[in-house]
């Protein structure tokens, strides 16, 4: 499964059609690409081009109308609902555009939530959550609730939470969309550092050119198809 060239994520001719009454929206129209372990990759494209839909397919939040998605070599269409739930818990980390956190839990409790679901021991949860919160620059704010944190701080808690579960892939859907550019830069620094230090694969979507250019590989989507695969070295 994990020979050096096996992709960690693979999409093959993925389509997604949403039906709204009589009208059909074709969100993805045969999207194919592969991502190798450790990549730091941006999905970009105009609004409505299918970025969120593509991330939802990879994250097992939604199923393709046709085509296949593999994560770590496993065909998601062959997994039961329970297996998909476990896949999300153990192999995928999510960061959404905003309001990612459980409002009644503190930063620390949010960061360790997924580890708790994984059944990790208290000591390990504590060590890793505190370490990651420090890593994302939130030392001393562990006991704040989300409404006592700024937007950027909330996103950093979400990143710590996504990484804490030791996933194969961290998916971030427009993680900087609600942040000012300085805060967005800092968030990208954090993601980059975690990618470098932990080796976790990052796939994030954005339509902000400055954020996009921090990626080492950029997939340009247009109308639900891959328009350009841009690699920087």
């Amino acid at each position: 499964m994990s020979n050096d060239n096996a992709p960690i994520v693979k999409l093959e001719e993925v389509t997604k059609v949403y039906r709204q009454g009589e009208t059909e929206v074709r969100a993805l129209r045969g999207l194919s690409f592969e991502v190798q372990a450790g990549e730091f990759l941006a999905l970009t494209g105009p609004s409505g081009s299918g970025k969120t839909t593509a991330l939802n397919m990879i994250g097992a939040l939604d199923t393709p109308s046709s085509g296949k998605v593999w994560v770590e070599g496993r065909d998601l269409s062959g997994l039961s609902r329970k297996q998909l739930s476990e896949m999300r818990r153990d192999r995928i980390g999510f960061v959404f555009q905003a309001y990612n956190l459980i409002p009644v839990l503190t930063a620390y409790e949010n960061a360790e939530m997924v580890m708790r679901l994984q059944g990790k021991a208290e000591e390990e949860r504590r060590r890793l959550a505190m370490e990651l919160l420090a890593e994302v620059g939130l030392e001393g704010l562990e006991h704040r609730r989300p409404d006592q944190l700024s937007g950027g701080q909330q996103q950093r808690v979400a990143i710590a939470r996504a990484i804490a579960s030791r996933p194969a892939v961290a998916l971030a859907d427009e993680p900087t969309a609600n942040l000012d550019s300085a805060t967005a830069e800092m968030l990208l620094d954090t993601m980059e550092k975690l990618n470098r230090e932990t080796g976790v694969t990052f796939i994030f979507s954005t339509h902000d050119p400055r954020v996009m250019n921090r990626a080492r590989r950029i997939l340009h989507l247009v109308d639900g198809k891959l328009d350009r695969d841009e690699r920087k070295d």
């Binding site: 969120t52 555009q97 990612n100 459980i102 409002p103 009644v104 939530m113 679901l117």
Partner: protein, 416 residues
């Protein structure tokens, strides 16, 4: 397990997110419980009072009598009521007293008038207000003294009608065991005034020895043994136990069997109370359902994110069920705080309703000697009400919890 306790914590914090809504829900539960406890407690106390009162008026909670006495309550339907039997009945831990009595119809005559009356012959040395309701209602003169007192105590209206005063003569006439008409002379020792027309106008109290002598009974012969139990709800069981000690033609009847009209009246009242309470509980459950359902619908995106993090359907279901559990528990706490003081007041001070009903009120042939209603609920009824609250709250949570587990994450997360 760590995981489950975190769901409980999460649920606990969630219910306090909308304090006002939760407070209204808890208030609804508290109000429903208050209503249920007061209505049930009023019923338990007043039906208990009526049953005890009926017992004191006649045959006790359990009555040993001739098998034909219920059909034809005549003075020739007698049973053996010796001391050995009453003492043996009194060894039953639920039994307080087992008292021989003779009761029946008599004709009372004075120089002025004659009236029919119901007489009850007791051993005054063995009875007190807990076994004979009107012993405390002597308004003139005194009670009979001892089992062979030759005097009579009359209801106030009856005495007035007969135009007698204390120490005046009254002639008693009744039909004895063998069907002969017998008469005896007696003197008025005391007058009772209960406020209940049927008693004041028609009751005569004799000593049991005197009655036996007049009727030609053996010294251990009676028309019944009146048995008083600690808790009237045990009457049927006690009656069943006593049956084993009796020989035909003696039978033991519980108060339900000897006063079927009263039993029917109470059963009907309790039935209509329950219907009303079920209705209140259904309203309460609908309120809780609404709270939980609205709170789930408001959090669809949050449940979607939780599903994305790896919460299973079952865990999301359990989370909302935990919210119901907390509402049930906290609702009961609120209910206790709300109901406790009022219950305490009504349990100790009672409601004096004498002004409402006036003098001489009777319900189902039972006079209400004490026009104060106390609320005194049976503990099993408290448990039943608490149980219904918990079941109703959990039932109200089922559908919202199911919905929370089935939130489609991709769609829910798009909702911002």
């Amino acid at each position: 397990m760590a995981n489950r306790s975190k769901l409980a914590t999460l649920a606990w914090r969630n219910i306090w997110r909308n304090r006002r809504r939760t407070a209204i829900t808890l208030f609804g539960i508290a109000f429903g419980v208050l209503f249920a406890v007061l209505v049930t407690g009023l019923g338990d106390a007043s039906y208990g009072q009526m049953i005890d009162y009926a017992a004191k008026m006649g045959g006790g909670h359990v009555s040993v009598q001739h098998e034909d006495y219920r059909e034809t309550p005549s003075l020739d339907q007698t049973v053996r009521a010796d001391d050995a039997l009453t003492a043996s009945i009194e060894t039953d831990p639920e039994v307080l007293h087992a008292l021989p009595r003779v009761s029946g119809a008599t004709m009372l005559a004075t120089a002025a008038n004659s009236y029919g009356a119901f007489f009850m012959a007791i051993d005054p040395s063995r009875e007190d207000e807990s076994t004979t309701a009107f012993l405390g209602a002597i308004s003139e003169g005194r009670m009979l003294e001892g089992p062979d007192d030759k005097g009579i105590v009359l209801g106030a209206t009856l005495a007035e009608n007969l135009d007698v005063e204390l120490d005046k003569k009254v002639v008693l006439t009744m039909t004895d065991k063998s069907g002969e008409i017998v008469s005896g002379l007696t003197r008025v020792r005391g007058i009772v005034k209960t406020g209940a027309p049927s008693l004041d106008g028609g009751l005569a109290l004799l000593s049991i020895g005197h009655a036996r002598e007049l009727l030609g009974y053996a010294p251990d012969e009676s028309t019944q043994i009146a048995i008083f139990v600690r808790d009237h709800r045990d009457s049927a069981q006690v009656a069943a136990r006593i049956r084993g000690q009796l020989q035909a033609p003696s039978v033991a009847l519980s108060w339900e069997e000897s006063s079927p009209e009263l039993a029917g009246f109470i059963a009907m009242k309790m039935g209509s109370n329950w219907i009303m309470q079920v209705f209140i509980m259904v309203l309460m459950a609908a309120g809780i359902f609404n709270t939980l359902f609205v709170s789930v619908m408001e959090r669809l995106r949050e449940f979607g994110i939780m599903a994305a993090l790896g919460f299973s359907r079952l865990q999301l279901f359990a989370l909302v069920m935990w919210e119901s559990v907390w509402i049930a528990i906290f609702g009961l706490v609120a209910a206790a705080a709300f109901t406790g003081p009022l219950y305490y007041y009504l349990n100790t001070k009672g409601i004096d309703y004498s002004a409402m009903v006036g003098e001489g009120a009777e319900v189902a042939g039972v006079a209400l000697l004490e026009p104060v209603l106390y609320v005194d609920i049976y503990f099993v009824h408290v448990l039943a009400i608490a149980g219904i609250v918990v079941v109703a709250t959990l039932a109200a949570g089922l559908y919202p919890a199911w919905r929370a587990g089935r939130v489609p994450p991709a769609d829910a997360i798009r909702l911002v």
